[in-house]
């Protein structure tokens, strides 16, 4: 186990170095002179030279990379070109809404998705199963923004139960915070619920026909205990895998959802940064998201041992 973790950490470092090189080259590989792009069409040669000096673009590429990488290791993600403020500060200001939205989405998707999947497998071929399968297919194929606008129209404009858009920080009170997050969370969760439900159903169906399920029944176990105690843990490895994959890739959905619901989170920060060609911000977010992705994958792989005692690293 210890050697496995060590091996994974080493490979994580390797992956992050590659991500770093890629993200670094992003700016340099963009067509034309980066300073030109940053300065925009109406810049004077003096302004471009100034930017080039400021970014250290006159030095060899390798030196630039080392400077940049050392900065990141020291917690310096660079400075926003547009606002002139540190990227790390800009990101951390936007972190709360994004983390709130992501956590609520994870909680909702996992509980509903797994329950749907278990229920569908239990009554496989029945009405519940067919309804859930239809929902899963639909939920997975309709784009996030369509679901978002539909929900806004229905719950915010027609029946006026929920606010149309916006965000309230949690220290302004739990109530407003939750109320503003209901629609975005549901919107963002739909495809994940669908995905998790499908995998959970398939995985459960396989487990339900195992001999030990009959043993559990012969023992007098209740349907609830059979499903959630005996079967679900056995079906857990594939379910954990898709949960990990889903949320490692959550950021894409977060960007769209934050835009649709006008939430001032990291997603919106990125969209604005792209519009403003604010490369340091894009690079900083990319580095953080990649790091998170790798960490989630590691956590998922390690969690297998908790679910299945036969798995040893």
């Amino acid at each position: 186990m210890a050697t496995y973790i060590l091996r994974r950490v080493v490979s994580t470092v390797a992956v992050m170095v590659m991500v770093g090189v890629f993200v670094f080259l992003l700016l340099r590989l963009a067509p034309g002179d980066p300073a030109d792009i940053i300065a925009g069409p109406r810049a004077t040669p003096e302004m471009i030279a100034g930017i080039r000096e400021q970014l250290g673009l006159n030095q060899p590429l390798a030196i630039q990379f080392v400077h940049w990488a050392l900065g990141i290791l020291g917690g310096d993600l660079g400075t926003s070109i547009f606002t002139g403020r540190p990227v790390l500060e800009l990101i951390s200001q936007r972190l709360e809404p994004t983390i709130s939205l992501s956590l609520l989405t994870i909680i909702l998707s996992v509980t509903i998705g797994v329950s749907f999947g278990v229920l569908a497998a239990w009554r496989s071929g029945g009405l519940v199963d067919r309804i859930l399968t239809a929902f899963a297919t639909l939920g997975f194929s309709v784009p996030v923004f369509v679901v978002g606008f539909f929900l806004i129209y229905l719950f915010a404009i027609r029946i006026r139960w929920l606010p149309v858009q916006g965000y309230q920080p949690i220290d302004h009170g739990f109530g407003p915070w939750v109320v503003h997050l209901i629609l975005p969370t549901v919107t963002l969760s739909v495809p994940y619920i669908a995905f998790i439900a499908r995998i959970a159903r398939a995985s459960m169906l396989e487990v339900l026909s195992e001999d030990y399920m009959r043993t559990a029944a012969a023992k007098g176990a209740s349907a609830y205990s059979m499903l959630f105690h005996h079967a679900l843990k056995n079906a857990g490895v594939p379910i954990l895998t898709v949960i990990g994959l889903s949320f490692a890739g959550l950021i894409g959905g977060v960007v769209i959802t934050e835009t649709v619901f006008n939430i001032p989170g990291v997603g919106r920060l990125v969209v604005d940064a792209i519009n403003n060609r604010d490369y340091p911000i894009i690079q900083g977010v990319l580095i953080l998201v990649s790091g998170l992705y790798v960490l989630i994958n590691l956590a998922v792989d390690l969690s297998y041992t908790l679910v299945d005692p036969r798995i040893r690293y």
């Binding site: 496989s124 071929g125 026909s209 195992e210 001999d211 030990y212 009959r214 043993t215 559990a216 029944a217 012969a218 023992k219 007098g220 176990a221 209740s222 349907a223 005996h230 843990k233 056995n234 857990g236 679910v307 299945d308 005692p309 036969r310």
Partner: protein
């Protein structure tokens, strides 16, 4: 049609005309064609027959453990302590499973849940039925492992199934089945998947525990040797029907059904030394998807006469507590 009626207070399980069907895409398989038999308190009843003759289906029908989508018990009664199990609600049935009637299965390698410890799985039965706390139930689990003679039970309770051998797992299954002191233990080929030496140990264990606890055992097997060693009474099944039922001594001394006779001939006899080739029963088991006219064994039977192909023989007395479903049973016994 019931022959030797067992006196009421000795009677534990009374199966009457049990009929179970399997439903396929566009076919119905009549896996059990209305069988009747009884189990007395504390006795060991052997159920023998080839693969697919309905032995396991009988057991699963009694406990109502058949897959709901593909199988249904369409007729008959399963009277246990006078109550028809087929009439009980799911909740009432759960109270009987694992408590009054327990079952052990053929495949010890796959019959235990791989993600829970053996102790946990034994304790679960105790927790469900005795409403015991977790710690009390775990103590009971350890005690049961000791009872089934697993060495070092203090350590073994915390083992996962994959950390045990096949023989040990089957012992653990037995411990689980007996944890709530059932009145009836259904053992469905409990030794078939094990090594020969382990088979003998597990058989001896079941017989021993049966003596100590007084539980009745329904022993399902295709091995007549096992029947001879363990059972008092035997029923022989063929194509979803009971074709013969007798005391074990009578059955071996004077089998009254040609199928039983064929089965016995195909058992190797160690006392006779090397034999050139074991006799086998010619032909194959009939498909239960088509209706069968006459005796289902007729196409393979050396004693077959015209009536066998036209009229189905019913189980009838051929001696004291000995019955067979054969038109020529008396001649078969004499042969």
């Amino acid at each position: 049609m019931q022959l030797h009626q067992i006196a009421g207070n000795d009677l534990l399980l009374d199966v009457r005309n049990l009929e179970t069907h399997f439903y396929g895409e566009d076919s119905v398989t009549r896996a059990l064609g209305g069988i009747s038999f009884q189990v007395k308190k504390g006795e060991t009843l052997g159920v023998v027959g080839e693969s697919g003759c309905g032995k396991s289906v009988t057991a699963l029908s009694i406990l109502r453990l058949l897959p709901k989508l593909t199988a249904r018990t369409v007729g008959g009664q399963v009277r246990f302590h006078g109550r028809d199990l087929l009439e009980l609600s799911d909740r009432e049935m759960r109270k009987i499973r694992g408590d009054q009637i327990a079952m052990i299965f053929q495949e010890p390698m796959t019959s235990l849940n791989p993600v829970y410890t053996v102790g946990h799985q034994i304790a679960e039965a105790v927790q469900i039925h005795a409403k015991a706390s977790r710690s009390v139930a775990m103590e009971k689990a350890e005690e049961m492992l000791r009872l089934v003679r697993i060495a070092d039970p203090e350590r073994r309770v915390n083992n996962y199934p994959h950390e045990m051998s096949g023989g040990m797992r089957q012992r653990a299954m037995i411990a689980m089945a007996l944890a709530c002191s059932p009145e009836l233990l259904i053992a469905d080929e409990p030794t078939t998947a094990l090594d020969v030496t382990i088979q003998a140990q597990i058989l001896r264990l079941i017989v021993d525990l049966k003596e100590r606890t007084g539980t009745a055992v329904m022993f399902i097997t295709h091995d007549l040797g096992v029947v001879a060693e363990t059972c008092q009474r035997v029923i022989v099944m063929y194509a979803g029907q009971i074709v013969e039922q007798a005391n074990v001594i009578d059955l071996f001394a004077r089998p009254a059904h040609p199928y039983t006779q064929g089965l016995m001939r195909s058992v190797p006899d160690r006392r006779r030394g090397r034999q050139p080739r074991l006799p086998e029963i010619p032909g194959i088991v009939p498909s239960l998807r088509e209706p069968i006219f006459g005796c289902s064994f007729a196409p393979r039977c050396p004693f077959v006469i015209d009536i066998c192909r036209e009229k189905t023989p019913v189980l009838r007395d051929v001696g004291s507590s000995h019955a067979a479903a054969c038109w020529r049973a008396e001649e078969v016994m004499g042969a």
